[in-house]
């Protein structure tokens, strides 16, 4: 009795000796924009391919809308995929590409045409219906791939790093557009990416993958502000890890902690009530609107401190190099990542 769009139970996949996915349990809600985030080789794409039906799990099961579809081929699942390289059919024009799914399902020609044109219009490509995919730019191909999948009104849309091949500017625009389209059509999106910023921007919830397992599932804000492991803290944003003796000295108790760079105050910015620690500025990295200060604490670890360039000159900022400073942070901004032993176990 599940109203979940996608439910994965104990899903595993091995290729020969290599375990790509190792016991994944996951529930994706209906209408959700869900991202699977992780470094390459973490198993996120393999999970997506198992949902689509391109790969058969070694063990475990895939449920779509409460139905077990584990053994079903891709064409018998109510999901559609937007591929990383778009996989548009080069021997068909744009309209025929978009119509393909409807033609296969024997939708009558007038309705087919109407729906395909509507889908193309919704991605602003109505004018290019007669073009061949090879005559389109990367961004346009991306939109055709999206229209080709959405025209079938699938229950779940799977997107495999669809923005990976686009340049940064186009990518940002497409992120917003994708999110908007998802809100309009109300279809569940499952989005695979290795770009944490992309995942944070678009998702309702994110699953962070590592070595074939899910490390944490949370909303973007929770993931960033309350990561439950050093890996998540490091992969989503920059983490400043404090553990061992440094944790004892700086935080005042043993364990493993992280403080986000923008939460750390430097020099004059340190406020009353902040926990403080002395250190030396090792380097200053100029990034335009912000600067990164790498501060080596006397207690050992080096923290990255982010400060907006609101006042003062760049020369003044650069002059901090080599200077002794005090850094401080509100105690509630210290993220506890769990007991210290956890890391040692994982690294051994």
């Amino acid at each position: 009795m599940s109203t979940a769009a996608v439910e994965l139970v104990g899903l595993s996949k091995s290729f020969g000796d290599v375990t790509a996915v190792d016991g994944v349990d996951l529930t994706i809600r209906d209408g959700e924009f869900f991202s699977m985030l992780g470094p390459s080789g973490s198993g996120k794409t393999t999970v997506l391919r198992m949902i689509a039906g391109f790969e058969q799990p070694t063990s475990g099961s895939v449920h779509l809308a409460g139905q077990d579809v584990t053994g079903r081929p891709p064409f018998a699942r109510d999901v559609n995929t937007v591929f990383q390289d778009y996989a548009l059919f080069p021997h068909m024009d744009v309209l025929a590409n978009v119509e393909y799914g409807l033609r296969v399902k024997k939708v009558p020609r007038p309705e087919r045409r109407e729906r395909a044109m509507a889908a193309l219009d919704s991605v602003q490509l109505g004018d290019l219906a007669a073009r061949r995919p090879t005559q389109l730019s990367g961004g346009q191909r991306q939109r055709v791939a999206l229209a080709r999948a959405l025209v079938n009104r699938p229950r779940v849309l799977l997107l495999d790093e669809p923005l990976g091949a686009l340049d940064l500017k186009l990518r940002r625009a497409m992120q917003l557009e994708l999110k908007q389209i998802q809100r309009e059509v109300g279809i569940t999106f499952v989005f695979v990416t290795h770009d944490q910023e992309e995942a944070l921007t678009m998702s309702d919830r994110i699953a962070v993958f590592r070595d074939g397992r899910i490390e944490q599932v949370a909303t973007p804000a929770d993931l960033y502000e309350s990561p439950t492991s050093p890996f998540v803290a490091g992969f989503v944003g920059t983490s400043n890890l404090l553990d061992g003796g440094a944790a004892q000295t700086v935080v005042g108790r043993p364990g493993m902690f992280s403080i986000r760079p923008e939460k750390i105050h430097l020099g004059d910015d340190v406020r009353d009530g902040d926990a403080t620690a002395p250190g030396v500025v090792q380097d200053v990295v100029y990034l335009g609107s912000v600067n990164h200060y790498l501060v080596e604490l006397d207690a050992g670890p080096t923290l990255t401190v982010l400060r907006q360039n609101l006042r003062g000159t760049t020369d003044e900022a650069m002059a901090l190099r080599g200077q002794r400073v005090t850094v401080g942070w509100a105690p509630e901004h210290v993220i506890e990542l769990g007991p210290h032993q956890q890391l040692e176990k994982e690294e051994s």
Binding site: F54, F75, N80, F83, F89, P90, A149
Partner: protein, 269 residues
């Protein structure tokens, strides 16, 4: 690359010489088909179209051409079907002995024709008890024609990958629908190239043909070979040769055209 002017002139002259060496004899064949002299005197004492009319009326030549065309078409059709299927099987599935099967399919093109000819003739006559004839000839040609289709098909399949097929299945198309709508159209130009080559191989094959055609069947190469040294027939043979030169330009031109404007090749990057 940059060359000094002297080198460039030298290279051009050399290229011209090589091309001349290849094409002068062919030009001579065409010229001699109009030569009034039965013995191809040089320079030609005069020109005539007599041999061309004689060739058109020659039953032997006409029958031989028809037989050769029939054999080449049938062998190519068999090769197209079997070669494509073999390429799909070997490219899309992993199974025990895959590499061995691949080697065994390609081997016939490397085997000396004499060996293939003797082996096939022996097998037909003794093992299967089939009289040599059209059937044995077509089957024999198909053994090496498959290789050209197979090689072209598998190279294309490798370059395509499975992505487009996955996309098709994802959009609801079953295995056969995907093959007809996606795989086959994407392979079309490769298959055409393979078929042209296969046709050409079969059309001028003489060694295997000698062993497997039997008595009653005369393909064009065999007819030419048997008539070349008959003084009466030599001018007619020459005309047939000249006609073949002109005809063989067509498939080469077609395949060059195809290679230039092939969308599936462009898309496969």
């Amino acid at each position: 690359m940059t060359f000094s002017p002297a080198t460039r002139v030298l290279l051009r002259a050399f290229t011209g010489l090589v091309l001349l060496f290849v094409y002068a004899p062919l030009a001579l064949v065409v010229l001699n088909s109009f030569n009034t002299s039965r013995t191809f005197e040089w320079p030609p004492p005069g020109f005539t179209t007599r041999w061309w009319s004689a060739a058109v009326e020659s039953d032997g030549a006409r029958n031989a051409i028809v037989v050769s065309l029939e054999v080449a078409v049938m062998a190519t059709v068999i090769a197209l079907v079997l070669g494509t299927m073999a390429a799909l099987a070997l490219q899309r599935f992993r199974f025990f002995g895959r590499d061995t099967v691949s080697l065994l399919i390609i081997l016939p093109i490397a085997l000396p024709g004499v060996v293939t000819g003797i082996a096939l003739a022996n097998a037909f006559l003794t093992m299967f008890g089939i009289q040599l004839g059209m059937l044995t000839l077509v089957v024999s040609h198909a053994t090496f024609c498959i290789v050209t289709v197979f090689n072209n098909a598998i190279a294309r399949l490798r370059r395509l990958g499975g992505n487009l097929e996955e996309a098709s299945m994802d959009l609801g198309a079953g295995t056969f629908r995907t093959f007809w709508s996606i795989t086959l159209p994407m392979m079309r130009s490769a298959l055409l190239a393979g078929a042209l080559l296969s046709f050409a191989l079969s059309f001028d094959e003489i060694i295997v043909t000698t062993f497997t055609a039997g008595q009653g069947i005369q393909t064009l190469p065999i007819w030419i070979y048997q008539n070349l040294f008959r003084p009466n027939q030599a001018p007619v043979v020459n005309v047939v040769a000249a006609a073949l030169i002109v005809l063989s330009v067509i498939p080469i031109w077609v395949s060059q055209k195809l290679a230039g404007t092939d969308e599936s090749v462009a898309a496969a990057r």
